[in-house]
Point group: C2
Chain length 232, copies 2
């Protein structure tokens, strides 16, 4: 594996403070892979043989049941995914596919677990990361159960804006139908929800989003750090 990738990975919170030789032990068995869009990297139910790190592009985590499918989240560089399954040596609960041309690094789960068992710093970092992931899913669950689809969309837009440092104009980073699925609605419903946000100063044309009446939108969305702040 090229050193440039290694240093990218090294900079991730979970790998930052661990001993060099342990980091090398994890990297040794790892390898880079390049994928075109729409490639299924992981299928739910399989055993978690690899931990994955997205280096470039983007990866959708989704779940299926009884012929239905839903987008659980989208993973962007540089982050890991399928950490919990790796640590528990369990089956993947979600499938993963590339959304665009993507570079992904695969690290053998057994190596990750082995190092986890002997490197306390790594173990600590993994816990912090897992706790973060857990809290993210809890927030998502609250969003789903406590809000209507319009409120979810409104808050999504405000979170997007925050991610873009408060810019008035932004670009959607995923397809609308994926966004709809992630927000727990149909594409048609999203389309109508977007129109319903016009009176609140939201204009979405294609992928470009504009929020002209921030205050009005906030008044509708009623964002709270307990749901909408990923760092809280």
């Amino acid at each position: 594996m090229p050193d440039s990738y290694k240093s990218d990975i090294r900079s991730l919170p979970i790998f930052q403070h661990m001993a060099d030789d342990n980091f090398d032990a994890i990297m040794r068995g790892g390898y880079v892979q390049n994928f075109p869009p729409q490639v299924e990297l992981i299928t739910e139910g399989e055993t978690a043989d690899f931990m994955h790190v997205v280096i470039s592009g983007s990866v959708e985590l989704f779940a299926t049941w009884n012929g239905r499918e839903t987008t659980m989240s989208v993973v962007r560089p540089i982050s890991t995914f399928i950490l919990a399954a790796t640590i528990k040596d369990a089956h993947y609960l979600m499938s993963a596919r590339t959304l665009e041309k993507s570079r992904v690094i695969l690290l053998p789960s057994s190596d990750v677990r082995a190092v986890f068992d002997r490197d306390h710093d790594f173990a600590r970092a993994v816990v912090t990361e897992l706790a973060q992931c857990y809290r993210a899913v809890v927030k998502n669950s609250k969003d789903l159960k406590l809000r209507t689809s319009l409120e979810r969309l409104a808050n999504y837009l405000l979170r997007l804006q925050r991610r873009m440092n408060g810019a008035e104009k932004m670009e959607l980073t995923i397809e609308k139908r994926k966004l709809a699925s992630q927000l727990g609605m149909t594409p048609e419903n999203l389309s109508r929800a977007i129109k319903a946000l016009r009176p609140y100063g939201v204009t979405i044309e294609g992928t470009s989003v504009q929020i002209t009446k921030q205050d009005d939108l906030v008044q509708l969305a009623k964002p709270t750090p307990l749901i909408d702040d990923p760092t809280f």
Copy 2:
């Protein structure tokens, strides 16, 4: 704190393999409290000063937003809750209240974190526990997003049955309105869903549940370990 409680707690997976002195360090600052029903133990947004262990009774974890409330889960003896917030030294994302007369042990978060930093076995156990919690929430999310309320109820009953070792007759362990909230529906909707399951051999009268046509119910519910098996 009485030794009997200590040994109960010691038997929990996260405390089982740790060094005695570290276990004692966590227990030292801990104390037992007895609560009547309907007492709010924790309010979301507060800082997580204590990790909690339910010794007897039951505790509801719930969340609120904009005047609405939803049951996230119910914790029964003997288990911990609010582990992630404790470890991350973060704010509680959920509130907690006793559902019945309950005995709860409070362990200072700072002590838990301190031991976590020096006891590798404890750290490992915490990771396993957290990964488990994470996966439980993911499963719950899949249940919510991929299934209708009728399907969620059907699967809930099958999970309950499994927890009761496959008995044909069981008792509901929570109030119906709480169950409704947990399943993401209104009490009225649950009432109707129960009726709608009659043709599938489900009879619910008061708190007693009977499943006479297991196969039919399974055919409707289509349970999968990827959502319905807590150990998977």
